[in-house]
């Protein structure tokens, strides 16, 4: 992408591969400058370079190998790890960026990155946009006058099919965690074993930091604990789909 000053023609889409997944941008009128999109994408790649556990030269890898003391790490790394610790407490330990003495804040970083990228577009003047990072979504405003963003939620038992669809005006975040794409990769930190009773958890919240971490923690909790815990959270709606395709709606969905 070339950095061109001036407003970008709207609506437009942009797709960017980063963090081992794909980020999809949709921007509707009034839009903002192309430079703002370029800046947001550059920021995503910079965050990947700091936090990737797949890169031996990332700050996270350097902290894990002892080359870098956490106290000497960049402000972003220290901020994210402090946030992870706060969320670990809030989720009764079911969300954790520390496992077996190693740091892995990946479960926080992607949702944070999507939310911050969207915030950068907003700071540049955009009011109607949607950023999707690997299936975690934050939308601001509306795609066009008269309707909200229509957000499909995939069926974990049929990943090319939608289980349901939500229409919402932003700000709205929708995050889904589960086993459909990458198998049983979410550990229950309390027992150190993969959690497999929930095929997927989708959380709808005002911001994606909350939605993403809550969805991941809920999968680790399993159906009963997740339903009780999510019910206790303010401003949260959730859809739990278990391994036998049963579903449970949490929060104010009319049924």
């Amino acid at each position: 992408m070339t950095a061109v000053a001036g407003p970008a023609a709207v609506p437009f889409s942009h797709v960017e591969e980063c963090m081992g997944t794909v980020f999809s941008f949709r921007v509707a009128a009034p839009g903002m400058t192309r430079t703002a999109l370029t800046d947001a994408i550059a920021w995503l790649h910079a965050i990947d370079a700091l936090f990737s556990t797949y890169r031996s030269d990332s700050e996270i890898s350097h902290v894990n190998t002892g080359i870098l003391r956490l106290a000497d790490a960049s402000p972003e790394v220290r901020y994210v790890l402090a946030e992870c610790d706060r969320l670990r407490d809030e989720t009764d330990g079911y969300f954790s960026a520390r496992l077996d003495g190693r740091l892995d804040p990946s479960g926080y970083v992607k949702g944070w990155a999507v939310q911050h990228a969207a915030n950068l577009l907003a700071a540049a003047g955009s009011v109607n946009h949607c950023v999707n990072g690997g299936g975690d979504v934050f939308c601001a405003g509306r795609p066009e006058p008269g309707r909200g963003w229509r957000i499909g939620i995939t069926d974990p038992h049929q990943p090319r099919h939608l289980r349901t669809t939500v229409e919402a005006a932003g700000p709205v975040a929708v995050a889904t965690s589960g086993l459909a794409e990458r198998g049983a990769h979410i550990l229950d930190p309390h027992i150190g074993q993969p959690a497999t009773d929930l095929a997927s958890v989708t959380v709808i919240a005002p911001d994606l930091l909350t939605a993403d971490v809550y969805a991941t923690a809920a999968v680790a909790m399993g159906p009963q604990r997740a339903a009780a815990w999510l019910s206790s959270r303010p401003n949260v709606r959730a859809l739990l789909i278990d391994s036998s395709a049963g579903e449970q709606f949490i929060g104010d969905w009319i049924r």
Partner: protein, 170 residues
């Protein structure tokens, strides 16, 4: 054509029964309650010119350029809106309207949603994101984006999101 309308009405009534189990709607604006049941509940009545809120691309303002393809085809018929029968469920009265273009349902919205248990008030005072509606949809053509378990770059290429992005990038 008449057969199509009746078939669609039947589908709408069927949808109403399905939707009543988990649906949510808000007025698009803060102009008070949903349009109440002023429309009579006759099945298959054609309501106006398809000028539903979720509309047919007839916004007069700065219309997105990408929406032109929807209206350009000579063979396609204009979208029409059908209102289904009001259905009494154990949760309340539900009535939906469907917008149909080229024999396919392209949008579903509520004209009436009366909860018996007072949950409407709770929902109206809800402080979280404004959910306009939630529908069971097998048709992915009318969504803007998709939430699902995190895909890898390879998984993305086979995903519904990839199909949406390709459509949007044209």
């Amino acid at each position: 054509m008449k057969r199509l309308i009746l078939a669609t009405a039947g589908t709408v009534a069927g949808l109403a029964a399905l939707l009543s189990f988990k649906t949510q709607t808000h007025p698009l604006t803060n102009a008070g309650a949903l349009p109440s049941a002023s429309a009579e509940a006759s099945s298959g009545s054609t309501a106006g010119s398809g000028a539903s809120a979720a509309g047919s691309g007839s916004d007069s303002g700065s219309a997105p350029s990408s929406s032109t393809s929807r209206n350009s085809s000579k063979t396609s018929s204009a979208p029409k809106t059908y209102i289904g029968q009001a259905v009494t469920t154990r949760y309340g009265i539900v009535q939906v309207k469907a917008t149909v273009a080229n024999s396919k349902i392209t949008d579903v919205a509520f004209v009436q949603l009366t909860a018996f248990d007072g949950r409407s008030q709770q929902i109206n005072s809800y402080a979280g994101p404004l959910l306009l509606q939630e529908t069971i949809s097998q048709q992915s053509a009318r969504v803007d984006t998709i939430s699902g378990a995190t895909y890898t770059s390879d998984g993305y290429r086979q995903s519904l999101q990839s199909a949406l992005d390709q459509a949007g990038l044209k």
